[in-house]
Each structure stands twice: as C-alpha cells, then as structure tokens.
C-alpha cells in the first residue's frame, strides 16, 4: 500500500513540475522585464549568455532563475538592479552590474526585502554601490558569490553583503573586495559566516553591530582598512579565522567593543598593528589562538572583566600585550610567550615563575607615543630589566601565573 502511494506521488510529481522559460537574444522572450511578466510561480527562468537591461526589477513570485555562462543584468547606473520580494526564490549564476551610487539612498545590486527561503548562488556583483542587501529576511543562503566595490579605493562605497534585521542567514564561500565593509551585520541573529575571503575593503572586512548569537569560522580577512570589528553583540563565536596584514594608525586584526559571552578559538592574528583590541569585554574566552608578528599582540582595556586567555601562542610581537590600567578578574593561564625568560626546574612544561606580558616600555609608549624612538635601545632594555626585578609601574594583575615553556603546535 505504502509503495503504491509512493508510486502515485512520484507519478503526479512529474506533472507538477514547473515549466521553463528561456530568455536569450533570439528567443521569443527577449528582455528581462517581459520574462518576469510571462513566468508563473514555481517556474524556472533560464537566462542564456548576454547582457540584459534590468533597472529596479522586482521579483514577486516564487521562481528559480538559472544563468547559463554568467549572463549580465545591467542596471545602467539608474537605480537598484534586482529586488527580491517573495519567498522561495533561487538565483544561480547571474552577473549583476552597475547599480546607482548615491549618498542619500542605499542603492543595492541585489536587494532582498521581507523574504524567506531565498538562495543566491554563484553570482557576481560588479560596480554596485551595495552588493547584496538583505533586510527583514529569514533563512537566506548566499553562497560562492563575489563582489567588487563601485568606487574602488574611495570612501563612498557601500557594503559588500549588508544584513539588517535578519535571522538565520548563511554566508558561505564569498569573495568581497573594495567595499566599505566586506560583510556588515546589524540586528542579525543566528547567522553563520563561513569560508569567506574579505580583502582590501575600505573600512572593515567584517562588521557586527548589535548582532547576537552568530558564528563565523574559516574566514580570511586580509589588508582591510582597519580589520574586523565586532561591537555591541552577545554570544558571537569566532573559530579558525585568519586576520592578516592590517597596518596603520588605528588598524587592528580584531576590534571587540562591548561584547559578552563570546568564544575566540583557533584563530591566527598575523602582521597587524594591533592583533586584538578589546574594550568593555565581559566573559570572553580566548583559546588556542596564534598571535604572530604584530605590533601589539593584545590590547585589553581596563574595563574588561571575567575574560579568560588560555593556550595562546605569542610569537614575534613587538609588544605582547598592553593595557591602560589595572585589569580585574581576568585570567591568563598556560599561554606561550616567546619573550618569557623563566625556567622550569620541576619539568612539568610550565614555567616556575610568572610572566608579565606588559613591559614597562609598552606602558611608556602608551603614555608618550614619541618614546617609540627609543625602541630596541640599550636604555629601554635596562629599564625593562629593572622593572622586571622590582615591578612598580606595570599593572600588577596582568600576569600569567603558569606560562608554558614550549610553543603549542597546532598545524
């Protein structure tokens, strides 16, 4: 009986299949606007290679659009290019180009508004003000897309992928370049951001504002204006990311501001002016991260509480850590510091004397930036040594009581 039911179901599903509308230069349907009018809900639109004008076209039926050999939807810099305003829309392999740029309205290449269950895959966005703009939406997948900002290298560009009031969004395998922020999240919950590459964006590679319970992992952020910023958010987890090459006056690998209950694990911070800077962080856990060749490895402000730093490697940083006052209730334990000069007599792989990562000189530089002139000089070495033996200026509580003797190998 069951088998028969299944058979009938399969048989009828053959008839339920939607029809396909093809859009090409020699087809009956020749322009995109016409195609959208002709097509019925749950049909498939196949677009052949070519350039089609598409100025502020709204898709308000649940359809699937498949682009063959990357057809171009051109907005001619008149308005937005494509607007998605219905549930169950799937877009594959489209090139979206030339949206309008302007400071008064956020023009987007592809805007998704109040929709659920939308897929955007293998799309290419060129010369758009905002790339993909998702607002008031749920359950959306953005996968393997690429975006390049309109005003490459100028400050008046929009964000690559912009989320506003969204829930359960997955952003995977995208490449974003030359935008204001690569990926921007505001009021976005339960999002997963995975395996993306954000490079040379004007401000941040990734930017969180008021976005709780999100996870980002396996991403690479390199050469962005000032790095990655995670602000005013709760429960953001960061795993296996790489924060590379952010050099500059106010640049850092990762900025954490007013954050709580986050886990930062297995990340690499390399070649940044400041690896991680944290202000107002509560209950954050830094575990198994590598801080390699940064100006400052870690900058923890005095208003951070209940944070844990365990099993991290600090190698080749000019200053391992810095702070602006007394740290309270923060735990540093079992980290490897390459500047540690202690010994291990009982051979338990943990140093016998505690290590203070904040040197006198880093406190000095913090208060008098021009003291940087004396870097690596004999005077400074002498001062640091004196301070190490008779601590008086460096903060008392910034201390690793169990520093590890050997670097922790991960890869």
């Amino acid at each position: 009986m069951k088998l028969r039911c299944l058979f009938y179901a399969l048989f009828f599903s053959l008839f339920c299949k939607g029809t396909t509308v093809t859009l090409c230069k020699d087809c009956p349907v020749q322009n995109f606007k016409q195609a959208l009018q002709v097509i019925k809900p749950y049909d498939t639109l196949v677009i052949k290679k070519g350039t089609y004008t598409c100025i502020n076209e709204t898709i308000s039926k649940p359809i699937t659009i498949i682009g063959e050999n990357l057809p171009v939807l051109d907005g001619k810099q008149m308005d937005e290019v494509l607007v998605v305003m219905s549930n169950d829309i799937h877009l594959f392999g489209l090139a979206i180009a030339n949206s309008k740029c302007g400071s008064m309205k956020d023009y987007a290449g592809l805007r998704v508004f109040k929709a659920r269950n939308v897929t955007i895959e293998n799309c290419q966005l060129t010369n758009t003000f905002f790339g993909i703009y998702l607002s008031d939406s749920k359950c959306i997948t953005v996968k393997n897309c690429s975006g390049k900002g309109a005003h490459y290298g100028k400050s008046d560009t929009g964000n690559g992928i912009h989320l506003w009031k969204c829930d359960s969004i997955s952003i995977t395998g995208n490449h974003l370049e030359g935008h204001r922020d690569g990926i921007y999240l505001e009021f976005a919950k339960h999002c997963t951001i995975e395996s993306n590459l954000c490079e040379r964006n004007f401000r941040y590679g990734l930017h969180f504002m008021f976005s709780d319970n999100d996870t980002y992992s396996n991403n690479t952020f390199t050469g962005n204006g000032t790095g990655v910023a995670v602000m005013y958010s709760k429960g953001v987890h960061m795993f296996n990311n790489q924060f590379l090459n952010n050099w500059g006056d106010a640049a850092y690998g990762l900025l954490l501001k007013d954050m709580s209950n986050g886990i930062i694990k297995n990340n690499i911070f390399q070649n940044n002016t400041i690896g991680v800077t944290m202000e107002g962080g509560t209950n954050m856990r830094f575990e198994k991260n590598d801080f390699i060749q940064n100006g400052y490895g870690l900058k923890v402000m005095a208003n951070c509480r209940l944070d844990t730093f365990v099993l991290n490697n600090f190698t080749g940083n000019t200053f391992d850590a810095s702070t602006n006052g007394e740290l309270k209730e923060n735990l540093f334990e079992k980290n490897y510091w390459d500047k540690y000069e202690g010994y291990d007599l009982n051979r338990d792989a943990v140093g016998d004397i505690p290590y203070r990562p904040v040197s006198l000189y880093s406190v000095l530089v913090d208060q008098m930036p021009y003291a940087i002139m004396l870097m690596r000089s004999f005077t400074i070495d002498l001062l640091n040594k004196a301070e190490k033996n008779i601590p008086s200026i460096v903060p008392e509580t910034f201390i690793d009581n169990k520093p590890i003797m050997k670097m922790i190998k991960r890869r």
Binding site: S103, S155, D156, F202, M209, F210, G225, E279
Partner: protein, 146 residues
C-alpha cells in the same frame, strides 16, 4: 627702489601675520579619522561630528550620538566648539548647538541613535515628510539616552 622694498615688506608682513593666525576650518578626514567614543572609522559622510576644546584639541565622532555620549562621559573636556554634519550637505560642518535635529527610527545613523542634523529647519521639515520622526533642538538631543 624704496617703494618696491616697502611693498615687499608689506607683502611679507601680511603673509606672516595671516600665517600666524591661520585658523583653519576644521574638517573630518573620512576613512582616516577614528571616532573618539566608539573607535570606529568615520566613513559615512552624512553623519559625523567634531569637538574642539579651549586648548585646540580636536576629537572626531562618527555621529551625533557618539559625541553626546562622549560629552556625558568626559566632563573635563570643556568643548569650545561643537560641530556636526549637515545631513543635506555631506561633509559640511555646522554649529551643533544651533542645528535642527530629526530623530526617528527611519534614520540609520552609524551607531543606531537614529538622529540626523540639519542646518535649517526647512531642510529638516522636508526630510521629516519622507523619513518621519520628531524635530528637536540641541537641548533635547542632550537629554536623549542613546
């Protein structure tokens, strides 16, 4: 010759005197300056603010709400000039105490304070038609908890 020297002296003197009291109009370097309160790079040209104290120290902010929050936090700064950006004329700084403000949830200022500043009340009213929100003045802005 004497006349020429006199003229030359005059030119040099004026040039020097202008140079010495060169009171450059303050401006924000978008994409470079960092907000003194939230540490974000100032980038949105429709929003932005600036404080100068009596010693000439300048602080930059990415939006009004950050400036107001900073003024509440750091009471020792004693600002002499309080400037904000005119929403209609991006990058142009205006006197914050004389400006007109529009406060409402359709205004997406960088730090979620939902406030924009305008030089004239006509501009503010014009934008109120499309963006809604309340028209307020500086003393009310200081009372808002951002």
């Amino acid at each position: 010759m004497y006349r020429f020297l006199k003229a030359l002296l005059f030119i040099v003197f004026t040039a020097v005197s202008i140079e010495s009291c060169n009171n450059e109009t303050p401006k924000i370097n978008f994409g470079k300056d960092m907000c003194a309160f939230c540490k974000m790079t100032v980038i949105d040209e429709k929003f932005g603010a600036l404080l100068i104290n009596n010693k000439g120290k300048t602080l930059y902010f990415d939006c009004c709400e950050c400036m107001v929050n900073y003024m509440k936090m750091d009471k020792d700064f004693h600002p002499e000039k309080i400037l904000t950006i005119d929403y209609c004329n991006p990058r142009i700084l205006i006197d914050a105490e004389k400006a007109h403000y529009l406060h409402g949830e359709n205004i997406k200022s960088p730090m979620g304070g939902n406030i924009a500043s305008f030089k004239t009340s006509e501009d503010a009213e014009r934008f109120q038609k499309s963006l809604q929100g309340d028209l307020i003045l500086w003393n009310k802005v200081l009372e808002i908890k951002f």
